[in-house]
Symmetry: none
Subunit: 401 residues, 2 copies
Amino acid sequence: MDYKFLQDLDVPVQTKIAMIIMDGLGGLPMEPGGKTELETARTPNLDALAAQSALGLTVPVGPGITPGSGPGHLGIFGYDPLHYEIGRGVLEALGVDFELGPDDVAARGNFCSVDGAGLLTDRRAGRIPTDLGKELAKLLRTIKTDGVEFFVETVKEHRFAFVMRGSGLGDALTETDPQKTGVAALPVRALNPGSEKSAMFANHFIEQARKLLADKHPANMILLRGFAKSPAVPTYHELFGLRAAAVAVNGMYRGVAKLVGMTVLPVDGDTLVDEFAALEKNWHDFDFFYLHVKKTDTAGEAGDFLRKVRVIEEVDALMPRLIALKPDVVIVSGDHSSPALLKSHSWHPVPTLLYGKYVRADGIAQFGERACARGGLGVLPAKDVMPIALANAQRSAKFGA
Amino acid sequence: MDYKFLQDLDVPVQTKIAMIIMDGLGGLPMEPGGKTELETARTPNLDALAAQSALGLTVPVGPGITPGSGPGHLGIFGYDPLHYEIGRGVLEALGVDFELGPDDVAARGNFCSVDGAGLLTDRRAGRIPTDLGKELAKLLRTIKTDGVEFFVETVKEHRFAFVMRGSGLGDALTETDPQKTGVAALPVRALNPGSEKSAMFANHFIEQARKLLADKHPANMILLRGFAKSPAVPTYHELFGLRAAAVAVNGMYRGVAKLVGMTVLPVDGDTLVDEFAALEKNWHDFDFFYLHVKKTDTAGEAGDFLRKVRVIEEVDALMPRLIALKPDVVIVSGDHSSPALLKSHSWHPVPTLLYGKYVRADGIAQFGERACARGGLGVLPAKDVMPIALANAQRSAKFGA
């Protein structure tokens, strides 16, 4: 879909759309013939909503593609994740709530150990404690030079986000991690002329870091990888004419929401109840709300089937608070699947529910993978959900006469 | 789908395909839990056909896109409506059966009222009677100039189709309607060098019209908008190797059929019975038949649920006459949805039935939205139906060895 095309069809109205994303929602039975996490969960509220909804299965990135959280979110947000790539450095910066500018170049950094000859002995510096990581980050922040500003933000243990800010910085850069020990860290090389300035500054930073960390073994050197700038993503306002708000307690999801121009709402606390309270509090000020549930994914990745079931039930119990706000359109979906059976993200299509007054309801009173496979939305690219939601919120004009 | 690709797979055979398009077929229940128009209609013949058919839901233009009649028809005819755009001027000319040439530039015209200072007082000239519109059109036809031929055809009331015929006429032109009263009509401006000649002639025509209409208040001036040339659409014969015929009583649908190279058949009268009779009469002379049913859409747009139900039942009652002709493949579908609930075109996918000897039948003995949602065609772009129909008519060769 051509974005300009959607913009031309915007209709100014007062309708509200809520998108509840349970991270890694899609699942699998633990044994053949069994039920998935979502099918096992007791979800009377979601089932009642499903009866008045169109159901389907969304494919976040492409058939058979297991998405990371970045691409998974871009997909359900309505973007083609193969077109708008979020580099690893950008994700790392977003994850620590760093306010990434459009010209900033971000990288994943980590402390590592080198011997007297400068050869790597441990690529993760023995996973130093986060507190030590923070101390060393302070040291790295003393590195200054003309023409570019450096930022260092601790993620956890040996990991940190590294950002260069300045003009004319390209991000076509090689990484310094040789992916093995017994050899020296590699220099940063520019892959195009527009990135030569970046390469020079990155190498300067690394050289200064080496000197500052010389007596800090095991964290006596750094590695940088995944250099990237923010993709120039059109915002929700530009694209869909929506004043959009995000409710998420984890940095990376707040970051991706910011990337598409959503206003990230403050949440008092980090529970689901706190998240729904934030949504209620801001209901009158926005047209679109994205609410992120992290713990479905955490449980799936931990292989904890029953914990994932319980988190889904917790979300179900909160659904009446959303419905009480009388949203015009509700989307309940996930950014990808994370079956407990696989203990990881997976490629499986994601159960998706679209509720609204003008939705052609399937009359299937159950929200689950197999129920969604029979739904009228069919199996569809995740990026198609937003245009359909906008139409149901009567926010799209007719195309052609 | 690459068109050249389909052409290479043409197989010369004698099979016949019939496509019955009920305009705006798709619907919605009037209240939650209810049935749609098509589900409410008593359709024993379509249900029996459905039992031997593959069912699905077609998306005319794109997810969430509400199609106009032009794009809706191009879609079910097998074309990507985002690629072949039919401008408003072209639709207006097609609607009055004007034989639009490939280089003609068409526009929507209307009479309007201006005051002594030339400022608009009524953009529709008080919706003058059609007879007066026809009288004034005769007057406008007296405008002649060297290098280009002008055509004026009354649509109804204040509306007319305006066409310029000549060489080197581009259609990148601005419209003259300022969309408000109290200001003067705008001049036509060329948006590229190739359209400067068109702009000059259009402005010349408007200037002559102003003089001729000076004493014809309330219709003392004209407005022109939606300048466009016919899109260069490959014909059904070029594309599919089909000798195609169209049965439609409304001008616009005859026009779109002509655009794709169908022969428009004469219809004695304007009832559905007359249309089916025209199809029977010409059965031996063509490979493909498109039969258009207008009144489903008219009823939907009027919000008349029961009238739409009755029109569908009327079509059902005529289906045995089609089946008696022993078509090899039958498509029953719509160009878009027009739910009575919305009183307008809508974005909802369209119930679609594909019958044929070699169709893998779903065994669902019902033709309705929810039945189609469970069908083997799935949710598919409307433009994919024709290639599938051709294959079922054994008109596509094997691709590759």
